[in-house]
Assembly symmetry: C2
Homo-oligomer: 303 residues x 2
């Protein structure tokens, strides 16, 4: 694809904490793609432009080109702070931030995240995926769940994000499975029945949650609990706790999932057990659709 | 004290995962003390005897001496496995394990931990503290809570441990405050009001627990939440979740706390807010009293 990339109309960038992905876009479609590990977390303020050029230089012509970026690149410690928009609001904001650039070929726009004052919450990047999903599903009214390190649940109505909540479920799982005493009792693999049972336990007695984790360790010592079963049960306990706290977001609601395939499948199973048939959308596709919606708004604003 | 140590009757050892402490005992009192970082987690099976000698060699005479050790030294991956005793049972078991030793001066006895089949749970070391507390408080009927990395709640009746539960609260706090995204929002210090409020939130709506953690991060970004307040609130949320799950252990019960001063003070405050006036005991004192109870049983058995 790279040979055609110099005909790009604009460039889309998803710049997270640990990774950055860029796409050369023409006629609203990606014609080339590049990525690196130069995430926001690895870069000083003055290193972002070079990190971007390292990815997109092959796509640049003589003309100035618009670059639209979402994610942690707009955090306070990122390239340039793109201040949060307050919910309720549209997930595509009017007010992008344009960082100072030395290379005259670049016209960079960083999209802001969303914030909620009470209960306090923030997102950066997910709002663009929500915007993309809504561009693909106009008139969607319901809840969008974005599973990940920090899973987001967002209530959507009339094209706006009304409220949202973040759950650290993915980060909890990573810490517990890699760095806690439970690591000795977990192994690769999966046990769907144990997962389902743990979700049900978590949902039916959420107040007992805190006592269940160490039992995985004890059962492995006392009864040789299988490592894959323990992994599935830990995942189910954490997801059960999340579903208990997020109940107002999914109970009786239309729910769409945006995330990687494995994680979305776990959420689909968990919600299915509660009688909720969740729709799913591909994370990369909706990210691109959201960046495109922002690009179109920028073009309109200029013309 | 060291000059008198060679008159020791026996030697007491508390051998945990990361540390080992030893005391030369005479007339049931410690006359010398030594400790090192050669915890169970740092030693191969054949390195325990040397690690012990490095601590107690100055106290050894020509006579064979009894060494009584509790804690993770008796785990499967420790010096020699001291198999768990099943609750309900006395916290001082009849069946110590005697590892093979090369030095003829040493007569080493390792105390077993306790286990519970359903719900699965284990302890190693805490049973000796419980035994020591009961030796000092004969006839105690109620609940003993041992705050720590893995906090234990144990129900005691007629000198026996009836049931117990482990909470990973201390380990959760360490992981979240040092290794999660929350570390950016926490600082040293304390806020007693925030702590109390978070405990109350956790206890009154335990099902909402999983949504509260990320708010600490968001509130620090949006409203400059004070780092010490965030630390106290995180601690309170975790302790609130523990108290919600441990409610049958403390509600309407006589409760005694065994642990370090700071942690015990937090538990005293938290329980006090629920109307429970907890007694406290010094961890080192009850450990020594428990090892002494075991030593007396060993002597009796021999004579």
């Amino acid at each position: 694809m790279n040979s055609e990339a110099s005909y790009a109309d604009w460039i889309a960038v998803d710049w997270g904490t640990s990774q950055v992905r860029a796409w050369a876009m023409r006629n609203a479609k990606p014609v080339a793609e590049a990525q690196s590990d130069q995430g926001m977390g690895t870069l000083a303020k003055d290193a972002f432009e070079a990190a971007l050029l390292a990815l997109i230089e092959p796509w640049l012509g003589a003309q100035r080109i618009t670059v639209v970026a979402c994610g942690m690149v707009g955090a306070r410690q990122g390239w340039a702070e793109a201040r949060y928009a307050d919910v309720p609001c549209s997930p595509v904001s009017q007010s992008q931030t344009q960082p100072h650039v030395r290379d005259a070929r670049l016209d960079v726009h960083i999209l802001p995240g969303l914030c909620q004052r009470t209960p306090a919450d923030v997102m950066r990047g997910e709002e663009t995926q929500i915007a993309g999903f809504l561009a693909q599903n106009p008139g969607f009214d319901g809840v969008i769940c974005l599973p990940g390190t920090h899973t987001k649940w967002a209530q959507i109505s009339a094209g706006e994000v009304i409220s949202f909540r973040t759950f650290m479920t993915g980060e909890f799982f990573a810490l517990l499975s890699k760095s806690s005493v439970l690591r000795h009792s977990l192994a690769k693999g999966w046990d769907e029945d144990a997962f389902a049972q743990a979700i049900s336990d978590g949902l039916s007695k959420p107040e007992a949650m805190a006592s269940r984790f160490f039992s995985l360790r004890a059962e492995s010592l006392l009864a040789d609990l299988d490592g894959a079963t323990a992994t599935a049960r830990l995942s189910g306990l954490l997801l059960g706790a999340e579903l208990a706290a997020a109940r107002p977001y999914w109970l009786g609601q239309r729910v769409a999932l945006i995330g990687n395939a494995t994680l979305s499948a776990h959420y689909t199973t968990a919600l299915g057990l509660q009688g909720v048939a969740a729709e799913t959308a591909d994370a990369t596709e909706v990210t691109l659709a959201g960046l495109r919606a922002a690009y179109e708004q920028i073009k309109e604003h200029v013309s």
